[in-house]
């Protein structure tokens, strides 16, 4: 059933201090509203339990992409379209551009934001695996100040995050690596356009004379949170890519993910596809 629209409040703070003051005054009462591409769907479906929101639309501090010697830093309001079109991201962080390109249609990409994709905390979100593969860091801001925290570990359970009720996600920082890593991204959905993931895989690795010097593996839609496969990374680090190493990594991955049966897929299919994507990634590294 449709929601009763008059019962929903959506305030528009004029600037960041005003927004942070609202959060600090009544912690947990007000929720940020960015592009609305998920919240408005819930609203229309009558499933939006939260009633009081504040729009981030006027917060200029949360916009823009900044490139420095060490990092590329994106405002939380950076849209998928802005991610796709940014030359620095295209050159060094293509997994994020792939994720943006494969999220919804153009109309959704024009509205949806990277910060929203993180803070909405869907385990089926497509940019978080890429962010984990890049060791992204998050800036959380409040009246108490700003702090940077690794994105890995930010999600602690289904829709649960390490963020205080008075904090707002401000920026996302991607450390630039000295030498480019080999990268792999693949989203598997029911169809190519506009599908929500059954499994989403992002991988990055630095190869050293035929062995894996360092590696990151992250997956979406296979657990209550988007997951970085740390044990699988450990099993692969320092190894040559042989059939035995691939099998061992696939077995390790199976023990660490927890896919479920739901409207989009089955646990069995998701596990198999996750393992197949891992193999495809590793075989590409071996080439």
């Amino acid at each position: 059933m449709r929601a009763n629209v008059p019962s929903y409040d959506l305030r528009v703070p004029e600037n960041l201090p005003e927004a942070l003051a609202l959060l600090a005054r009544e912690p947990g009462t007000w929720q940020p509203f960015a592009g609305g591409t998920d919240l408005m769907v819930l609203l229309e479906a009558g499933k939006l339990a939260q009633k009081r929101f504040f729009s981030l639309a006027k917060l200029a501090e949360l916009r823009g992409i900044e490139v420095t010697a060490d990092a590329v830093t994106l405002g939380a309001l950076t849209t998928y379209t802005a991610v796709r079109n940014d030359p620095a991201l295209q050159a060094e962080f293509p997994l994020l551009c792939s994720a943006a390109r494969e999220t919804g249609g153009i109309a959704t990409q024009n509205r949806g934001t990277l910060g929203g994709n993180i803070a909405n905390a869907s385990p089926a979100a497509d940019s978080p695996p890429a962010l984990l593969a890049y060791d992204a860091e998050l800036e959380l801001i409040s009246q108490r100040g700003a702090r940077w925290t690794p994105y890995h570990g930010f999600h602690t359970g289904y829709k649960k995050m390490q963020i205080a009720p008075d904090e707002l996600l401000g920026r996302i920082r991607l450390p630039r690596r000295a030498r480019p890593w080999r990268q792999y991204y693949r989203k598997v959905g029911t169809r190519k356009a506009q599908a929500i993931s059954k499994v989403c895989f992002a991988g990055a690795a630095r190869m050293e004379a035929g062995t894996i010097g360092d590696i990151r593996i992250a997956l979406g839609s296979i657990a209550p949170i988007v997951l970085r496969a740390v044990k699988t990374e450990d099993a692969l680090r320092g190894k040559r890519i042989t059939p035995a190493a691939i099998s061992a990594a696939q077995e390790c991955l199976a023990g660490k993910i927890a896919p479920i049966d739901d409207i989009r897929s089955t646990a069995r299919y998701r596990l198999r596809v996750a393992q197949n994507l891992l193999e495809e990634f590793l075989l590409q590294l071996a080439r």
Binding site: V5, M40, G104, I106, T108
Partner: protein
């Protein structure tokens, strides 16, 4: 807090005209356009951002108006299907849809035309893959898409060459 919030004034430009309406902040732009401004050319399909029937241009960028809260329309420049033709003179994209049979029942057509315009704004001479991507957010249950695709190709042929720009 009361159970309901007050309506707010939304002032924006729609199809070149200054408009001002009262709306609840979380009302869907789609409903504001259709019910307050009586611009019923914009259609509701799925109501969840999948089908593109409600697509409009918001400050030049295509959006699904079912997913835009009214408050975000404040100060914005909006173009709906009613503002695409120049009086009786159809836009090249509209003419191409007519010529190629790109419209059947017509429910998806306003969104398709808006998507085609947004596509041609980004790529005046799009390749096949760009056209497919540009229309991927719009669903049609009648045409099988081939005639819509052909309409966009025809519209490109009808337009003068312009430098490429990316958005």
């Amino acid at each position: 807090m009361a159970d309901t919030v007050a309506k707010i004034k939304i002032a924006c430009t729609v199809n070149g005209e200054r408009r001002s309406v009262q709306a609840y902040p979380m009302a869907r732009l789609l409903d504001v356009l259709r019910e307050e401004m009586h611009l019923t050319g914009t259609k509701e399909g799925c109501g969840e951002g999948e089908c593109g029937a409600c697509a409009v241009l918001l400050d030049g960028a295509i959006v699904n108006s079912c997913l835009v809260p009214a408050i975000d329309a404040g100060g914005a420049e909006i173009r709906t299907i009613e503002g695409i033709a120049g009086g009786e003179q159809l836009h090249a994209v509209q003419a191409a849809f007519l010529e190629c049979g790109g419209a059947q029942c017509g429910i998806c057509t306003p969104g398709m035309v808006i998507a085609a315009l947004a596509l041609l704004d980004r790529y005046p001479h799009p390749g096949d893959a760009e056209i497919r991507e540009g229309l991927a957010g719009n669903l049609c249950r009648c045409t099988g898409y081939q005639k819509i695709f052909a309409s966009v190709v025809r519209a490109c042929e009808a337009r003068p060459a312009q430098p490429e720009k990316k958005r």
